[in-house]
């Protein structure tokens, strides 16, 4: 199969407008004859479900949480980018496009990214109209801040809770449609398979998490808005429930999985304290606007500090290595996430880490407090400082924070074309779950933008085109594909429940996480990845022999839920490793040790790797087949990123 991204012809700035015109429309009177399934109710899912229902389609929306409002978009702190140029500081759609392409280390599709930048302005309008309480200035207009290394202030924010406020906005739009009867909401339902009949996605299989009922739902199109797969690392900043299952099942039913190895490791997280740790907590990278990252200059000093022989205050200014400021004088502490993360890891690897585990560096606000005063710092970062204090029992106003990178976001995901359609007809993928807009590294405050862009402003047009093409004939849920999909889910569950092994699901998940972090984390190499592939296979085989899943299907059974998810992570992990192995270059979040500059910076290989890797599933345990979507850059010149 040849990957056709369906990028419209014409100049970059006109592609989307022209494309919208060329897309077929569904007759208003016919819209109510269509049903669309939306899986996941984060920013992408809620906004898509609400927008489609407003248009008149019948929507069935699903989430595994107890309420659509709890999807993990809620946890995004920092903000949302939009090329409004309210600050008159030189921002434009083109600059946002350019920054995103460059930030993604030239591994994203130009046309998609440009569209994202283009609709970004509408998102802000939409959210404000819904009553999202963005930060404002005294004049009553919207405030902006510079974020994540951007040189313009284009980030809109709602204190440290932007994701929450945006999600509640989308949730309110969704609620309105539920109230109107246009959306039927299924809380505590997990999607466990896609039904592909006659080459088209025509429904899904779900499990009711309360009573275990497994049922099929038919629809004219299925939208997966199921988020990222960062939890493959066990420890990540994702919510405990975040999983790849929906996307993975779609993959197994024919949707290609693109760039799975592109993982974003966020530099400012609270370090791990022990084996019991269940998740990592991110602190907004806005902290880097005022905090200075440093480590002790020598490993000896760091060791004395770790042992408690000296205190932080005992380390003199000249003995502190502000390594980001030193190495990247023009960007300093505001270098992109991947660069900041890798440098922290380097410091730790050199033995300069701090904290009891030695796996942390400092983020110091002493200068900011001196310069701005404690009150101003509190006003800006108070909630983050409180959170840090709550978790670590250390007061960041008095001593520097300890931070360490953690898995945060996955740029990879299901391959989609310009219409957000996967390689399965009628199966769409939105938000973090797809691969489309962030290339090999996502810029800060762009995830929220993408989720909402896809849901509010892209899918309502593109799915209409598909629906108009297939026509409003009801979907036949008597098609054998429905029964087959349901049966395969039931069998898998029965298998898991029958194992009665000796290790818990968490045991396997934790082990998988260690393998992934060790060999497919911040730095990767051929030998490590090859080893990891073997380890994952072994672990997966053992899992299917030796895992304990208690209880039965017909009840609220959290062990079973976890087991189903971890089983899929165990398959995904191997694909990530495969992808990291084939990409013998460093780019964005993917750092291959074999491919670095003399200064130890990531080195891209545009000649051989300017493509999106789309993997085709070939059966359980089989090597997946790689398809390449060549990335054509007509508007930007590929340069080595430099933040010096």
């Amino acid at each position: 199969m040849i990957l056709d991204a369906k990028i419209p012809e014409g100049p970059l700035a006109e592609k989307w407008s022209k494309h919208k015109f060329n897309l077929k429309l569904v007759n208003p009177a016919n819209k109510r004859k269509y049903t669309v399934i939306v899986v996941g109710t984060g920013l992408a899912g809620s906004s898509a479900a609400a927008s489609l229902a407003e248009l008149g389609y019948n929507v069935k929306a699903f989430c595994f949480q107890d309420s659509p409002r709890r999807a993990h978009s809620i946890a995004a702190q920092g903000g949302i980018n939009a090329a409004k140029n309210y600050r008159n500081d030189g921002d434009s759609v083109y600059r946002l496009f350019y920054d995103t392409i460059k930030g993604g280390d030239y591994r994203a599709r130009e046309a998609n990214v440009y569209r994202l930048a283009e609709v970004s302005v509408d998102i802000i309008d939409q959210c404000v109209a819904q009553g999202v309480p963005f930060a404002r200035e005294y004049g009553g207009l919207l405030d902006n801040r510079s974020f994540g290394g951007a040189q313009v202030s284009r980030t809109f924010y709602a204190r440290g809770q932007t994701g929450q406020q945006l999600l509640l906005g989308a949730y309110s739009a969704l609620n309105r449609q539920i109230h109107e009867g246009k959306v039927k909401m299924y809380n505590r339902h997990e999607m466990l398979d896609v039904v592909v009949a006659d080459g088209k996605a025509q429904g899904i299989v779900t499990r009711d998490l309360i009573d275990g009922t497994i049922e099929t739902h038919a629809a004219h199109a299925v939208l997966l808005c199921t988020g990222g797969y960062g939890n493959v690392f066990y420890l990540s900043t994702n919510a405990m429930g975040c999983n790849v299952t929906a996307a993975w099942k779609a993959h197994k039913r024919g949707a290609y999985f693109a760039n799975p190895c592109f993982t974003q490791i966020h530099p400012t997280c609270i370090p791990v304290t022990g084996d019991h740790q269940s998740k990592l907590t991110l602190m907004s990278e806005s902290l880097r606007n005022d905090g200075r990252v440093w480590a002790p200059k020598t490993p000896e000093m760091a060791e004395r500090l770790r042992k408690g022989e000296i205190k932080v205050a005992d380390i003199k200014e000249e003995d502190r290595d502000y390594f980001l400021e030193r190495k990247y004088p023009s960007f300093g502490n505001l270098v992109p996430r991947d660069v900041a993360s890798r440098n922290a890891k380097e410091a730790v690897d050199e033995g300069k880490g701090v904290g009891s585990s030695g796996k942390a560096v400092f983020l110091d606000f002493a200068d900011a407090i001196k310069r701005l005063g404690e009150d101003t710092v509190r006003e800006k970062y108070g909630n983050l400082f409180d959170m840090y204090y709550q978790i670590t029992d250390e007061n960041p106003y008095k001593q520097p924070m300890r931070i360490y990178p953690a898995v945060h976001y996955t740029m990879g995901g299901l391959w989609v074309d310009y219409n957000l359609q996967t390689t399965v007809q009628g199966l769409y993928c939105l938000g973090e779950a797809n691969f489309s807009d962030h290339g090999a590294n996502r810029l800060g405050a762009s995830a929220l933008m993408q989720g909402l862009a896809d849901g509010y402003f892209v899918i309502p047009y593109t799915v209409g085109d598909y629906l108009a093409t297939i026509g409003p004939k009801p979907i036949d849920d008597k098609h054998p594909a429905f029964a087959e999909a349901k049966k395969s889910v039931e069998e898998k569950i029965a298998k898991l429940l029958s194992l009665k092994g000796t290790k818990t699901v968490d045991d396997y998940h934790r082990e998988l996480g260690i393998i992934m972090w060790e060999y497919c984390g911040m730095a990767r190499n051929e030998a490590g990845l090859t080893k990891a592939k073997g380890l994952i296979r072994e672990l997966r085989e053992d899992f299917w022999k030796n895992v304990i899943v208690l209880g039965k299907n017909e009840e609220f059974n959290q062990s079973l839920e976890k087991a189903i998810r971890v089983a899929d992570f165990l398959e995904l992990g191997e694909l990530m490793v495969d992808d990291a192995l084939q990409r013998r270059e460093s780019c964005g979040g993917h750092f291959r040790e074999e491919s670095q500059t003399e200064e130890g910076e990531a080195k891209r290989d545009d000649e051989n790797f300017a493509f999106a890797a789309a993997w085709e599933y070939k059966g359980y345990g089989e090597q997946e087949e790689l398809h390449k979507e060549e990335l054509v850059f007509e508007n930007v010149k590929l340069t080595q990123r430099s933040y010096k």
């Binding site: 309420s67 309480p133 309110s172 109230h179 907590t281 029992d393 818990t504 968490d506």
Partner: protein, 256 residues
Amino acid sequence: MSKHMNLTIKVWRQKNVQDKGGFKTYKADNIADDMSFLEMLDVVNEGLTKKGEDPIHFDHDCREGICGMCSLYINGRPHGPKTAITTCQLHMRSFNDGETITIEPWRSGAFPVIKDLAVDRTAFDRIQQAGGYVSVNTGGIPDANEIPVPKPIADEAFNSATCIGCGACVAACKNGSAMLFVSAKISQMALLPQGQQERYQRAQAMVNQMDTEGFGSCTNTGACEVECPKEISLTNIARMNREYFTAKFFKEEEMH
């Protein structure tokens, strides 16, 4: 370095909504004080699973205090002994070695127990569905800066909007009232210019749904405000009352 402690936990176990349920006691040994409360339960659950006993079911997701899914009533208080945090942010250093900790689900007729410590909070969703929104469709919206909002008003609206819908207010209230939750949304919308068009119908619709769900009535004890992990203020309830009475006595808008 972290300290370790041995604890006894007394946990409400209930198979499903029909089951009567009761307390069971477990040992939680060698618990590090820098574990979160939920991590302590994870440890206990790992032990139970290995023994072939059904693990304790409880709701949780983001574990960073924002999704509102975690919901435990610990030693007589929602989200445990500390204020302004959710259970997932509660750490074991707030407890002492040898202590017995009693863990119960949220108790409210409107929040039936699903299993053990997990309850069904869809009543909250239905209240939001009744009117917790501004009726705008996607697209065709004026520029964001055409709707100025004075900063103090925006900040106040934000304070109300931070509600995470966890239900601690209901759990804390001796009357099982949901008014802090309902009023937070009504307030947010009543304060902002965007919410004005449906202001009075919204207050009626949401209060009406709240009553339909069977929540208790407010006696202004203020327990909700104290226990709210997001420190939503009681002022919101006063504002809701004002909105509701104004709507009922002086306005002609009806619920839609």
